[in-house]
Point group: C2
Chain length 456, copies 2
């Protein structure tokens, strides 16, 4: 048994014991919405580099069939490799969700692991939802615990994602509290992922989520099989915080368990870019609409941002790939200013090739803003200063970027986004995605998760 | 192409370009010896917890057949899962090799990855040897680069092992210099493994090597497939040293490439325990022999050790498992004092159950010694102070523990160790292990690696 002397103990006991019946209806509904949004992100990446390389590796190293579904390719394989490929897939087009204060993208690590395990053991929709909520609640609190110093070097979705995936898969597997602690321990000691790849526009972001989901799932299955692990992997003397953080706050691990539902704080992405660009993007759009400005009227845009935005976006100067363009503040603002849209098609068609977007990009600057930085990561404030060719200067400010909990997307908007993402890659027909949307909105009643799409 | 402006660049270019023809004969011979020693370690773990759990997971998640061999169980599967299981297996009985100044166990991560890839592509013995040497040379220098601060929290064999495995597998796959850099980048961003498990006698040490070998192999295959990665994963601003070390020394990465063969500095393990116990163990044996002492004559033993020994061994008080007993200085010295031997059988039969060993254990202390610590990690000095019941005090000192390069094991001794390890678990018959020894001593001439043991 686990004593509850520490916040880490309390978190472990909470997630191991969490039952569907405890969940408030809005949590269940939001979980379904996040799941649909995740499926759409996974489908949108079909055929996009480096996903075919990941699929080829899984095909070479995994079994040719199995209980678990690979969404983009509609193949079936073992839970391990299904989690691995689906996680890579769902973090590729930068349309998956984000939790602000943990700076964690929970969906891309929680759902692939939980789905693969659920398809393996034949879990019900309600069991799947409870497991995913457990993964969100654990992952978000662990991300908050490791803090800003961790995120400065480590890709939290990769590191913490391993633990979130382990908790979700472990919950599907109905691990005991002691087994859950072992799953968390085996996950934490496999947690990895460094931001260094970003300056090279390299393919590691997908490897990070693949690694997190699969290693987390492995941790859960190994725990079920009797493999033990460190009891204090989070806060022990030689644990994650000791090795990978300088501002860890253990109290965050036990923050209002069972009364605060962190899953509800998760943001949906409206623009198809790094979330750090969204507050300024929305603020710029607000100014342009309010003042009736066209992109040609604008001389310069100064975005006032938090430090994390500079850390992540500051390494990108002139983007060389569409994926890297999603981390270029100037490109994102340029797409919105010139084309009124920063969705997947805009990025594909204009981000690298449109001279007007490139010209606008060079007008955009970033500067650290103390007020914005103090609010971060709890709130992601958007502040821009727009100077026009005629010499005017306008301030733009938004406090809740579109998709944030205070400005969330409706089920109709999410369904529309899912249709657009599926159509973008052609991974599912309109009829297929409509049928799937209908099923996900009723997920809680499904006796079994089953296959999401017909086999190819 | 890779410029050679930095030591990291030079290391990458060196390992990508390394050819068998460059290798001095002693390096080739020692590589064969290390390979046999590794095979024996993998075989010795057959049936020992948690290996069956690892085998069951690989069986559930991997294909039921394939080009690569699982040594202990004689199954065949994909290269990924063969590397995963063989790496777990070979680090379990604590008989695998160690490189002193990097505090890296290279064999348990390099050989599983290289063997699986070699069996996949049909590499020759000479190609396999060159790839393994590349893995050793890279891994050892990266371990030295990350330094003592890294090892204080991170299990270097787990973290650096991922890169060593990637280099070895990548060399087998004949990666270009640019692909090799991507393999190193994808490996470094998956590198993980914390010492926290040790106090709980948990099963993570095997998970660490499994994870390292398999993730490193994956990095190599993904690089061959065209997946890119960070160019400066070792020394970049958000790379491994930035996140996981406070005393990294980049110059170590390029240290005498092509003239210093770090593989030759690797130690074989004579005792079946953590290498940190060996210097004191040998020093105690020397005193007891010199002074004609029996264990009953001894009142107390004070071992004078380096800081790393206290970090790793200091968490174990009264061992509760045979594996944990390998990290108990008092138990190791007790086995030697009482039974004259700290081999696998001694540990199995006496480490936990013999009251005389337990009594001796409680007489053993550890203290930090400045001279020993200053020499570490380059040299692992053994210093003990033995007080007898009759009031005498004797000093024991050895400078090269048995198995160290200055006191290495002969081919006859290594063959004998391999026979003992195979017999311990029954994983291979005497005739099978003799045939295998003969083949390994001629490995350089083998046209193909092929299967090491007949299928079950």
């Amino acid at each position: 048994m686990i004593d509850q002397n520490t916040p880490a103990d309390a978190l472990c006991a909470f997630v191991a014991g969490l039952r569907y019946e405890q969940l408030p209806v809005p949590v269940v509904e939001r979980c379904e919405e996040l799941f649909l949004d995740w499926i759409a992100s996974a489908l949108a990446a079909k055929g996009m580099h480096p996903l075919p390389q990941f699929e080829a590796f899984a095909h070479a190293m995994g079994p040719a069939g199995g209980p678990a579904e690979v969404l983009a390719s509609r193949g079936r394989t073992s839970p391990y490799f299904a989690a691995w490929v689906n996680a890579a897939s769902s973090h590729l087009v930068e349309q998956d969700d984000l939790h602000n204060s943990s700076v964690l993208h929970p969906a891309t690590v929680v759902f692939p692991a939980a789905l693969a395990a659920a398809q393996d053991v034949g879990a019900s929709g309600a069991e799947f939802i409870a497991a995913c909520v457990a993964g969100y609640e654990a992952g978000i609190r662990i991300g908050e615990f490791l803090g800003r110093s961790h995120y400065r070097i480590f890709h939290t979705t990769a590191t913490v994602g391993t633990l979130a995936a382990a908790v979700a898969a472990g919950h599907v597997l109905k691990l005991s509290p002691e087994q859950m602690r072992n799953a968390i321990g085996s996950a934490g000691t496999q947690a990895a992922g460094l931001w260094e790849f970003l300056r090279d526009a390299a393919d590691s972001k997908q490897l990070h989520t693949a690694h997190a989901a699969a290693s987390g799932l492995a941790a859960a299955y190994l725990a079920r099989g009797g493999v033990s692990a460190a009891r204090r992997i989070l806060d022990g003397e030689k644990g994650m915080a000791a090795g990978m953080s300088s501002d860890a706050d253990p109290a965050r691990l036990g923050d209002r368990l069972g009364s605060r539902w962190a899953l509800l704080e998760t943001s949906f992405k409206f623009h198809a870019s790094c979330r750090h660009t969204h507050p300024a993007a929305d603020a710029l759009q607000a100014v342009m609409q309010r003042e009736g400005l066209a992109h040609g009227d604008i001389e310069s845009v100064l975005t006032r941002v938090h430090k994390g935005a500079i850390d992540v976006l500051g390494v990108v100067d002139v983007p060389t790939t569409v994926h890297q363009a999603k981390f270029s503040m100037g490109t994102v603002l340029g797409l919105l200013a010139v084309h009124g849209d920063a969705g997947l098609e805009s990025f594909r068609d204009h981000a690298l090739s449109d001279p007007a977007v490139a010209a606008f990009r060079d007008k955009v600057g970033m500067t650290l803003d103390d007020e914005v930085d103090a609010a971060y990561p709890k709130r992601w404030l958007g502040r821009v200063e727009v100077r026009t060719r005629s010499g005017a200067c306008f301030q733009g400010a938004i406090d809740d970027p579109k998709g944030d909990p205070g400005n969330t997307l409706s089920r109709a908007e999410l369904a529309d986004k899912a249709r657009r993402l599926a159509a973008f890659s052609g991974a599912a027909s309109p009829a297929e995605i409509d049928a799937l949307i209908g099923r996900v909105w009723q997920l809680r009643t499904a006796p079994r998760i089953g296959a999401l799409l017909p086999s190819s």
